[in-house]
């Protein structure tokens, strides 16, 4: 399940300067916020960064997510996975509507992208 640009998280990503791979697909422009992206398209797009929206404490969930990623077909070839450019987003900022803390969410992403560039 991927968050599209017109979802809250997807929108935040674009504001922070990132590009959602889903924005490549014109047919998704009018699609409601989340979609099951075809695994082949994901590999084709080869994202540099993968952001996970989990719902537990990111620390606890991280190991589990890594194991699950290894299970998912084809993902070990993704640049993001090989460079360890993935992050579990804190659920309070990204899982549900963070309300006024949306600024914190933006800051979080901004910091993440800056660190990755270095």
């Amino acid at each position: 399940m991927a968050a599209l640009p017109n979802s809250l998280s997807g929108s935040l990503v674009e504001l922070a300067g990132g590009e959602n791979i889903a924005s490549d697909f014109a047919s998704l422009a009018n699609y409601p916020q989340y979609a099951q992206l075809n695994a082949e398209r994901i590999i084709e797009s080869n994202p540099q960064f993968i952001l996970f929206m989990g719902h537990g404490d990111p620390e606890k969930v991280r190991d589990g997510f890594i194991k699950e990623m290894k299970q998912t077909a084809g993902w070990q070839h993704l640049e993001a996975v090989q460079n360890n450019h993935f992050e579990i987003l804190p659920p309070d900022l990204f899982g549900t509507n963070p309300g006024t803390r949306v600024v914190d969410a933006l800051d979080y992403l901004d910091k993440l992208f800056q660190e990755a560039k270095d």
């Binding site: 398209r41 719902h55 084809g74 070839h77």
Partner: protein, 331 residues
């Protein structure tokens, strides 16, 4: 139908079905977000292909097709065995609680214990098996009968369904992740899932050989079978466990896929008759073919979105039942 016609139909479908299976498998290898032609596939298999093609074929499509074959084969085998042993041509693995049990286990794992979500296939498998056992034990009273098993199944399915819904309501913000699984699909299924399910699936399929004779005799009726010296209660129990294994393996990896276990054996039975020597293997081939073909459609037609194959199969279900209604003989 005369015996001649039946034997002829058996001959034809024994040839056509495997051929269809092979065609559909190659169709799955070539179609997707990218069309990869047969010569290009050959290149990949002989290690001379483009890396991108190689990734797609070897990491994505090939394991996915293999999984689809196993899932379809197991579900169809499960449904065909249940339809005989429960004396109900409309029986389906859901009747013995496989779907409800796997579904509940999946929800609990994904929603309440997300740190263990990588254990999903195991949890779903166990959920399926344990639920079947519970249903069987509830129905037991110096023996069971198909009616009792169905009643117990209805009760447990209702209970587990209620709990599942309850969890979804309480954790409504987390439900997003579970929905695709509940709808049933092969998105993201790769070698990990294949290696997980293959041993169980293959063993279960091999065990089906031993179920053929007892299943055939049970078709004669409980009394007649007992008069022929068969231990009907034991045989029914073992066959139900086998059906539960088959369906559990499939559901643990593919989520709640319906329709295959119900409809494929039904169709095959209309063509070849009730004899399990033909019904069972041909149902497996039919189920495998249907799932692989549907999955290929589900992941290509709506590019770049993937439709969970369970939804596509459910859409095929409605017209099929309407067709059955219009037939003179339901069976």
């Amino acid at each position: 139908m005369t015996q001649k016609k039946r034997n002829l139909q058996r001959k034809y479908i024994s040839i056509i079905a495997p051929i269809l299976l092979i065609i559909v498998s190659f169709h799955g290898l070539t179609y997707g977000s990218v069309f990869i032609s047969l010569p290009e596939i050959w290149d990949v298999l002989s290690h001379k292909g483009e890396p991108f093609h190689e990734q797609i074929i070897m990491e994505l499509r090939l394991p996915r097709i293999l999984i689809g074959l196993l899932v379809g084969g197991c579900l169809a085998a499960s449904g065909s065995l249940l339809q005989g042993v429960m004396k109900n041509p409309l029986a389906d693995p859901g009747i013995i609680g496989v779907s409800a049990g796997a579904g509940l286990a999946a929800i609990i794992t994904m929603v309440i214990l997300p740190q263990y979500s990588y254990l999903l296939p195991i949890a779903a498998f166990l959920g399926a098996l344990i639920t079947s056992l519970i249903i069987y034990l509830l129905a037991w009273d110096q023996g069971t009968s198909p009616v009792k098993i169905i009643l117990a199944g209805v009760a447990i399915n209702a209970l587990l369904g209620a709990i599942t819904s309850g969890i979804m309501v309480i954790y409504s913000d987390r439900v997003q992740a579970v929905l695709p699984w509940l709808a049933g699909g092969l998105n993201g299924r790769g070698w990990y899932h294949f290696e997980f399910m293959a041993p169980y699936a293959i063993i279960s399929i091999l065990l089906c050989y031993f179920a053929i004779k007892p299943a055939n005799i049970i078709l004669l009726g409980d009394d007649t079978a007992k008069l022929l010296g068969q231990k009907v209660e034991l045989q029914r129990f073992l066959i139900i466990i086998l059906a539960s294994l088959l369906a559990g393996v499939a559901v643990s990896v593919a989520g709640l896929i319906g329709f295959v276990g119900l409809v494929i054996p039904h169709i095959i039975r209309i063509i070849v008759g009730e004899d399990y020597r033909f019904l069972l293997p041909l149902s497996m081939i039919g189920g495998a073919t249907l799932v692989v073909f549907s999955d290929t459609i589900a992941r290509s037609w709506f590019d770049p979105i993937e439709l969970p194959v369970g939804i596509l199969l459910a859409c095929l279900g409605a017209p099929f039942f309407l067709y059955l209604l219009r037939r003179r003989r339901i069976l």
